[in-house]
C-alpha cells in the first residue's frame, strides 16, 4: 500500500532546467539583498543634498539601506514569485507548489523559501536558539561588568548597548520561542491539519524575521544603542546611527509577527480536524492562538512609534520633541500599549505548553479546561487595559494611577486560574519527573515569585520606591525567563522526539535544568536584594554597598550560562546520536503523537476525526 505521502514524493518536480523557482535559495537571497543594500547606500550617499544635517542624512541613508536589504533578500529568495504571478493573472502550478513545500529536497529545503510548516518550525527553532545564545552571551557580559563596582570590564557605551541589545534580542526571541518552533511544527498536526492556512505566508513570516537578524547585529558596528530596548524618546531621537538598526529591526519584526499571527489564527479557526470542536482543542493551541491574536493589535503600535522615531530622526518631524510641540509621553503610551500585552504574548504559549505537559506526566485529565480558557482570555483581555502602570511616575496624568492600579491588580485573578488548572491537575497525582515535567515545578515557583513581586510593582505607592530599580528587572525575568522560557524549554524536551525522531539526552537535560534553575534563583535573589536596597536598573556601575548582592547575581548568571551550554550540546548531540524515539514516547493523547517520524508532507494519511478532548487520562472516580 502506498501512503499519500509516498504518492506525493513520487510526483515530478518542475523542470529543473527552466524554472526559476528551483534556483532560488538563501544564497541568492543574500546576493540580491546585499546588492540592493549597496546600491541604495551608494546612490543615496552621492545624490543626497550635502547641506542636510549630517545626523539626518546618515539616518536617511542607513534606514533606506536596511529596508532595501530586507526587500532585496526577499526578492532574491523568491518570496514574491507567487504575488508576481497573480499580478500577471496566473498562479503557481501544482508542481511548483509541491516544489515550494520542499518535497524530497532533504536538508536543502531548510535554506529555501519552503512552505512546509514543519520546515518553517525547524527554521524558527534554530533562529530562536541562535538569538537566545547571542542574547544570553550579552547577559554574561552585562553580569561580568556588574560583578564588581568600578566599571572595570567595559565602557558605559558598550554596556548600554549590551543592555539594549540583550533586551531586544531576548524579547524578539521570547515572542517567537514557543509559537515559532512549536506553533509551526506541532500545532497544525495537533489540530489535525495538513498544513497552515497560508503556507506561503508562513515561509514569508520566517524569512522576513530572518532579514531582521543582520540588521539588528549591524547596531554593534554603528556604535550601539544607548536607550535600552524600551527606546524611550527623546533619548532615541538623540541616539547615534546604531539606533537606525533598532528601528529597522522592530519595523521588520512587526511585519513578520503580523503575518505569522494572522496565519496561526486563521489556521486554528479554519483548519481543525473534523470533530475538533472548540472544547476539544488542545490547550496549547488555545494559548498560542490567544497569544498571537493579542500580538496582532499590539505590535502595530510599536511599529508606529518606531516609524515616528525614524521620522523625527530623518526629517525632524518632532513627534516626540517637546521643543516643537511633541511629547515623550506619546512615545511611552505607544510603547506600553504594545509593551504590556507583549509580556502576555510571551507568557501564554509557555504556560500553555506546561498545561499540555502536566496531564501526560501525572496521567490525569487537565483540571477545569474552562478555567484555563477563561484564565487565558481574561489575561489577554485585561492586558490591554493596564499599560500606564509603567507610567505611574512619568507625571503624565497622576489622576489615572488609581484606575490603572485596579486593572493591573485584577490580572492576578485570571492568573490565579492558570495556577489552579496546573495545581488541580497535579492534585493527588503521582508526577513522573521526566525533564519536561520538571519545568512545571520550576514554573510554579518562578511564576509565584514573579507574580507576587508584580503585585508590589502594580501598587502605586510601592512603585514609588521600586520603579526603575533592579527589583523590576528581577521581577520580569522571573516571569519571562523563569516562567515563559522554562515552559518553552520544557516544550522542546517534550516535542523533541517528534521534531527530530530522537530522544533528547536525558542526563544532560537534568544537569542543564538544575544548573539553570539554581543559577536563576541565585541570580535574581541577588537582584531583588539590590533593587530593594535601591540600585537603579540599567546602570553600568554602582556604589560599593551593592557589591555583595551583585556578586551573588553574577555567580548565578554563570551557572545559568553553563546550564544552557549543556542544553545546547544535548540538542545538537541528540539530533544526530540520540536514542531513536518511539512514535509516542510519553503516551500522550494529542494528535501529533499519532504520526510517524519523519512526519509525512501532508501530516496525516487519512484526515483524523476527533471524538473527545485529548485529556482522557485516569481512572474514573466513583
Amino acid at each position: 500500500m502506498t501512503t499519500l505521502s509516498q504518492q506525493v514524493s513520487n510526483r515530478p518536480i518542475p523542470n529543473p532546467k527552466k524554472s526559476l523557482i528551483t534556483r532560488l535559495n538563501m544564497g541568492t537571497g543574500l546576493i540580491v539583498g546585499i546588492a540592493f543594500a549597496l546600491a541604495t547606500y551608494y546612490s543615496m550617499q552621492t545624490t543626497l543634498d550635502d547641506a542636510t544635517l549630517n545626523f539626518q542624512r546618515n539616518n536617511q541613508v542607513l534606514l533606506a539601506t536596511m529596508f532595501m536589504w530586507s526587500i532585496g533578500f526577499l526578492v532574491g529568495i523568491g518570496a514574491f514569485i507567487g504575488p508576481f504571478r497573480w499580478l500577471i493573472g496566473k498562479d503557481l502550478t501544482a508542481e511548483e507548489q509541491l516544489y515550494l513545500a520542499g518535497d524530497g529536497q532533504g536538508i536543502k529545503r531548510y535554506f529555501k523559501y519552503c512552505t512546509d510548516h514543519k520546515v518553517v518550525g525547524i527554521q524558527y527553532l534554530w533562529g530562536v536558539i541562535a538569538m537566545l545564545a547571542v542574547g544570553g552571551s550579552m547577559a554574561m557580559m552585562i553580569r561580568t561588568q556588574l560583578a564588581q563596582p568600578g566599571a572595570k570590564f567595559i565602557t558605559p557605551s558598550i554596556y548600554n548597548s549590551l543592555v539594549g541589545l540583550h533586551g531586544i534580542t531576548m524579547i524578539v526571541a521570547m515572542i517567537i520561542v514557543a509559537t515559532g518552533p512549536f506553533g509551526n511544527f506541532i500545532m497544525p498536526i495537533m489540530i489535525g491539519a495538513a498544513d497552515m492556512a497560508f503556507p506561503r505566508l508562513n515561509a514569508l513570516s520566517w524569512w522576513v524575521l530572518f532579514t531582521a537578524i543582520p540588521v539588528l547585529c549591524s547596531a554593534w558596528f554603528l556604535g550601539g544603542i544607548p536607550t535600552g530596548w524600551t527606546a524611550y524618546a527623546p533619548l532615541s531621537v538623540q541616539a547615534g546611527p546604531g539606533m537606525n538598526a533598532f528601528i529597522a529591526t522592530i519595523i521588520i519584526f512587526a511585519v513578520s509577527t503580523a503575518v505569522a499571527g494572522a496565519n496561526i489564527t486563521a489556521t486554528v479557526i479554519s483548519m481543525r480536524a473534523k470533530g475538533m470542536t472548540w472544547n476539544r482543542v488542545p490547550i496549547f493551541v488555545i494559548g498560542a492562538t490567544i497569544s498571537v491574536a493579542l500580538a496582532v493589535p499590539a505590535f502595530p503600535t510599536f511599529m508606529v512609534a518606531m516609524i515616528q522615531t525614524a521620522m523625527d530622526r530623518t526629517f525632524l518631524t518632532g513627534f516626540f520633541d517637546s521643543n516643537v510641540g511633541g511629547s515623550g509621553w506619546l512615545y511611552a503610551h505607544l510603547f506600553w500599549i504594545m509593551g504590556h500585552p507583549e509580556v502576555y504574548v510571551i507568557l501564554l504559549p509557555g504556560v500553555a505548553i506546561l498545561m499540555e505537559i502536566v496531564p501526560v506526566f501525572v496521567r490525569k485529565p487537565l483540571f477545569s479546561y474552562t478555567a484555563a480558557v477563561v484564565g487565558f482570555a481574561g489575561i489577554a483581555g485585561l492586558s490591554v487595559l493596564v499599560w500606564a502602570h509603567h507610567m505611574y511616575m512619568s507625571g503624565w496624568l497622576p489622576m489615572l494611577n488609581g484606575p490603572f492600579m485596579v486593572t493591573t491588580e485584577m490580572i492576578s485573578i485570571p492568573t490565579g486560574l492558570i495556577f489552579l488548572v496546573i495545581l488541580g491537575t497535579l492534585w493527588n497525582g503521582k508526577p513522573w519527573l521526566k525533564v519536561p515535567m520538571l519545568g512545571v515545578y520550576a514554573f510554579l515557583w518562578n511564576m509565584l515569585i514573579g507574580g507576587i513581586t508584580g503585585l508590589y510593582l502594580s501598587d502605586v505607592p510601592a512603585d514609588n520606591y521600586l520603579h526603575g530599580s533592579m527589583y523590576v528587572t528581577a521581577h520580569f525575568h522571573y516571569t519571562l525567563m523563569g516562567a515563559a522560557l522554562t515552559g518553552a524549554v520544557a516544550g522542546l524536551s517534550y516535542w523533541y522526539p517528534k521534531m527530530t525522531g530522537r530522544m533528547l539526552n536525558e542526563r544532560a537535560g537534568y544537569i542543564s535544568f538544575w544548573f539553570v534553575q539554581i543559577g536563576f534563583q541565585i541570580l535574581y535573589l541577588g537582584m531583588f536584594i539590590a533593587g530593594a536596597e535601591g540600585q537603579p536598573r540599567r546602570v553600568s556601575d554602582y556604589a560599593q554597598m551593592y557589591a555583595n548582592s551583585n556578586r551573588i547575581s553574577t555567580f548565578g548568571a554563570y551557572l545559568i550560562g553553563t546550564g544552557f551550554i549543556v542544553l545546547l550540546w544535548a540538542v545538537i548531540h541528540s539530533w544526530r546520536n540520540g536514542v531513536i524515539a518511539p512514535m509516542n514516547p510519553w503516551g500522550a493523547k494529542t494528535l501529533e503523537w499519532t504520526v510517524p517520524y519523519p512526519v509525512p508532507l501532508v501530516n496525516f494519511d487519512t484526515p483524523p476525526v476527533v471524538t473527545s478532548d485529548p485529556y482522557g487520562y485516569g481512572k474514573a472516580v466513583k
Binding site: L53, N54, F55, Q56, S137, M140, M141, T144, P149, G150, A151, F153, I154, T155, P156, S157, I158, G223, P226, P234, L235, V237, Q238, A239, G240, P241, D312, D321, N505, A508, D541, Y542, A543, Q544, M545, G561, T562, I565, V566, L568, W569, A570, I572, H573, N577
Partner: protein, 239 residues
C-alpha cells in the same frame, strides 16, 4: 557511542562554549581599554600648600578641548567621528589622593548657550573661582560657554564626594582657522587658558563630562560627541 565518549563530548563542548563567550568578553574588554587613549597622570610637585589650616601636597595636570580631529593628533580614530569635539590628550586622568590639584585647560572651540544655565557657575574649586587668561571669575555667562568640565561620581560610602563644575568660555571667532591649535596644546593664543584648583579626597573613581550641548544636530544636542564615550566624557581616578 559509549557513555564515556558521550560525557567527554559534553564536557568538552561545554568548555568550548564557555571559551567562545569568554573570547567575546575579552574582545569587548580590549576594545574598552582603548576608548580613553591611555592615562594622563598628574605631575606631583615637592611644594605643599595650606588650605583651611591643613597642608596639602600639590600636583598639576594639563588638558585641552579640541574642536575636531583635523586639529589634534590624539583625536579619535573613527572616520565617522572625525568632526567630534574631544578632550585630550587622554580622557582618563589620574590624580593623587588628598592633594591640591591644579588643572590647566587649553580650549579652542566656539560655543553658544547652555541647556541649563546652572552650569555657567563655577562649583567646587578653591575659592569658587577659575582663572581665565589671567582673570579670576566665579561664573561664565551661560550663552558664552564652549564646554564645561563637570567632574562627579557615584555617592558611595566608600569614597569621598568630589564635584567640580568649570564652565569653559567660548572663543568669539567664527572663522575656525584663526583658533586652530597646533599639536602642542597652548601654543596658539587664539584659544583660552583656564586654570583652577581643587582638593581631592581619598581614593576613588569619578567621571567627568561636558554640560554644554555640543552633540550637533541631535535632540538637545547631547548625542554624537556627547553620547560617544571618550569624546566629551571620561574618567578620573584618584589614586
Amino acid at each position: 557511542m559509549t557513555n564515556t565518549k558521550r560525557a567527554a563530548s559534553a564536557i568538552l563542548s561545554t568548555l568550548l562554549g564557555i571559551a567562545v563567550v569568554g573570547a567575546v568578553g575579552i574582545t569587548l574588554h580590549t576594545l574598552s581599554a582603548d576608548a580613553l587613549r591611555g592615562k594622563l597622570v598628574a605631575t606631583k610637585s615637592a611644594d605643599t600648600i595650606t588650605v583651611d589650616g591643613k597642608n596639602y601636597p600639590k600636583a598639576s595636570v594639563t588638558m585641552g578641548v579640541y574642536p575636531d580631529r583635523a586639529t589634534a593628533v590624539e583625536h579619535g580614530s573613527k572616520p565617522t567621528k572625525k568632526d567630534y569635539v574631544q578632550y585630550g590628550p587622554s580622557n582618563h586622568v589620574v590624580l593623587p589622593a588628598h592633594t591640591y590639584v591644579t588643572m590647566t585647560l587649553h580650549v579652542y572651540d566656539s560655543g553658544d548657550k547652555l541647556n541649563n544655565p546652572y552650569f555657567g557657575k563655577v562649583v567646587g574649586t578653591i575659592g569658587g573661582t577659575i582663572n581665565i587668561d589671567g582673570v579670576d571669575v566665579s561664573s561664565v555667562a551661560p550663552d558664552a560657554v564652549q564646554h564645561t568640565f563637570t567632574l562627579h561620581g557615584l555617592p558611595t560610602s566608600s569614597q569621598d564626594p568630589l564635584f567640580v563644575n568649570v564652565p569653559l568660555p567660548h572663543v568669539e571667532v567664527n572663522d575656525k582657522d584663526e583658533f586652530i591649535p597646533t599639536k602642542d596644546p597652548g601654543t596658539n593664543n587664539k584659544g583660552h587658558t583656564v586654570v583652577f584648583s581643587f582638593l581631592t579626597g581619598g581614593k576613588g573613581e569619578y567621571v567627568f563630562n561636558c554640560e554644554y550641548p555640543c552633540g550637533d544636530g541631535t535632540y538637545a544636542n547631547f548625542g554624537a560627541a556627547m553620547g560617544a564615550y571618550g569624546y566629551m566624557s571620561g574618567k578620573v581616578t584618584v589614586a
